[in-house]
């Protein structure tokens, strides 16, 4: 058959002693990675040591700024003996639960409405201005209102997470649905796709990369929503831990809660990145491997 159907086997090593050369290259890459990681660790340790030293030498006020060793003590104490509000895992779980639930609801709402408005012009024309107004509102001010409406329990935190998550996801889904390659849509119509099939099998897959970029950002927003909600008033959660520590002038407690939060957020982020990789197998890899 035609010559260009044969994809060349990944370029055979050129001349000379290929084994040696690739080994040298691998070694150089390892050295580079080692250097980068090493510098990172040194930077972190240096900063922490500086903080600790300055606080111990009372150059900065240890009462306000605390110090790494105290923060570490606080974390271990919470882990081992529990927090004033109950065991630490329970606080983490509450925050995570509220954030996750809010995130899922916000994402579903955002995607469905975004795609719907992206596909149905009439809806977009009618609802467009309202959505713009709602988006212009600094939505974090809704948190106290939700507290009044839904009480101290998780519901008010979920609600503030939902409003924070909804908009970025909505706008990305909307944009994604709008910017689907016209050729692709025309082609699928010619091939016989109905409106429904175009939406489900062309528009949604084409918009997924748009939607996914917003998922990363929006999970952060969900956490913010949950934390702020807890901070304003709650019975459980990491935000409560922050506000309680603040209320008792426990600076180390505030930092400790922050560290825990950061770890939780990073883990969630890692999980998302993993899912994305599985879902986007059809995309060309970023690293131009041999092509």
């Amino acid at each position: 058959m035609p010559p260009e159907t044969a994809t060349a086997p990944a370029a055979a090593p050129a001349a000379g002693t290929p084994g040696e050369r690739s080994q040298a290259r691998a070694r150089a890459a390892r050295n580079h990675a080692f250097l980068v990681h090493g510098t990172r660790v040194v930077l972190l340790v240096g900063l922490l040591a500086l903080w600790e030293g300055l606080a111990r030498a009372a150059v900065i006020d240890p009462f306000n700024f605390s110090m790494p060793s105290k923060i570490w003590d606080q974390i271990t104490q919470w882990t081992v003996h529990g927090t004033p509000q109950g065991p630490l895992w329970e606080q983490v779980w509450y925050t995570l639960y509220e954030a996750l639930l809010g995130w899922v609801i916000g994402v579903l709402g955002g995607v469905v409405l975004g795609i719907a408005l992206g596909r149905i012009r009439f809806l977009a024309d009618v609802l467009g201005p309202y959505i713009k107004v709602l988006n212009a509102l600094p939505r974090i001010v809704l948190a106290p209102i939700f507290l009044i409406w839904f009480g101290l329990g998780p519901a008010s935190k979920v609600a503030s997470a939902v409003v924070l998550v909804f908009f970025p996801v909505f706008f990305n889904a909307f944009q994604g649905a709008r910017e689907v390659d016209r050729n692709l849509v025309a082609n699928s119509r010619i091939l016989g796709a109905s409106n429904r099939q175009v939406t489900l099998q062309v528009v949604i897959p084409a918009a997924t990369s748009w939607i996914f970029t917003s998922l990363h950002v929006s999970f952060g927003f969900a956490l913010i929503g949950a934390i702020v909600g807890e901070y304003i008033g709650a019975t459980k959660g990491l935000g409560l831990l922050v506000s309680a520590s603040q209320g008792t002038f426990n600076a180390a407690g505030v930092y400790a809660a922050m560290v825990i939060l950061a770890v939780v957020a990073l883990l969630a982020e890692g999980l998302l990145a993993f899912l994305e990789k599985r879902l986007f197998r059809w995309k060309p890899a970023d690293t131009g491997d041999a092509r």
Binding site: P2, N183, A186, N187, P284
Partner: protein, 271 residues
């Protein structure tokens, strides 16, 4: 029923006017009369941007004429029919579907059961020489291979009418000649009527039974030339025949003038 005797495609005084973003009106096609017989291969040549593609979208039902009539098999076109296949200039394969799934898309959209659709898709993939590539994603293929996927995806629907909008213009010269030959082979077995839009006169003569020369935009038919070269043809060798060169010279004298007009307008716009 007159659908057995009527020509495959008929445009009668068709015009298409677009509203430009700046609010003006742009006439892409004006008063176009064109007839394509059953099983006929018609190539449409004209200067770049003259409205050739619009003609195809009118026949496909993707757009409606502002004036005039478009008939397919004797029936006026209302919306997108199931008789039509369309190969686009740009890649129009679904990047998130594998090669096999891309070719299955048409039959699946039309409600063919999965197993049967897969069987038919495999058959067409074999014919375009991509049987070994069915699990690949489009980004893993070359431009020529992607075009083959697009051809298979179109042919698998058994179109009676095949519309092609400069399908090979993005390919390199060798691949292009190869694809033209393959297209002729694929088409020979189907009896479909083809409208092939191109700005490459050589390509059009090598492929077609009839070459239609369009005027500089707004497009309308200027002249129609019958190509009496015998079939089966091989694109690379038919180009060297004296008769080919004769036809080429004859059509170019008509087309060249329109190209010149377009070019002059272009420079006038730029000035």
């Amino acid at each position: 029923m007159n659908s057995h005797t009527s020509p495959a495609i008929e445009l009668r005084g068709a015009s298409k006017t677009f509203r430009t973003p700046s609010g003006g009106l742009h006439t892409a096609v004006r008063d176009l009369d064109l007839t394509v017989g059953r099983g006929e291969f018609v190539a449409v040549v004209g200067p770049t941007g003259c409205g050739k593609s619009t003609t195809l979208t009118l026949v496909s039902g993707l757009t409606e004429p502002t004036e005039g009539e478009v008939l397919v098999a004797g029936e006026p076109v209302r919306g997108i029919g199931d008789k039509v296949g369309f190969v686009f200039q740009q890649d129009a394969v679904f990047p998130w579907r594998t090669v096999l799934s891309n070719v299955m898309a048409g039959p699946r959209f039309r409600g063919v059961p999965k197993a049967e659709a897969r069987e038919r898709a495999r058959e067409w993939l074999g014919r375009v020489g991509l049987a070994a590539f069915e699990d690949r994603y489009p980004h893993q293929l070359s431009g020529g291979q992607r075009k083959r996927v697009a051809l298979a995806a179109t042919f698998v629907n058994d179109p009676e009418i095949l519309l092609m909008d400069e399908p090979f213009s993005a390919l390199d010269v060798q691949t292009r000649a190869l694809m033209s030959d393959e297209l002729l082979d694929l088409w020979a077995g189907t009896g479909a009527s083809v409208v092939f839009v191109t700005h490459d006169l050589e390509e059009s003569i090598a492929l077609a039974d009839k070459v239609v020369v369009m005027t500089a935009g707004p497009a309308t038919v200027k002249e129609v030339f019958a190509i009496d070269l015998p079939r089966p043809r091989r694109v690379e060798s038919v180009r060297l025949e004296p008769r080919f060169i004769e036809i080429y010279r004859e059509i170019w004298s008509s087309l060249g003038e329109e190209v010149r007009i377009t070019r002059e307008r272009g420079t006038a716009d730029a000035a």
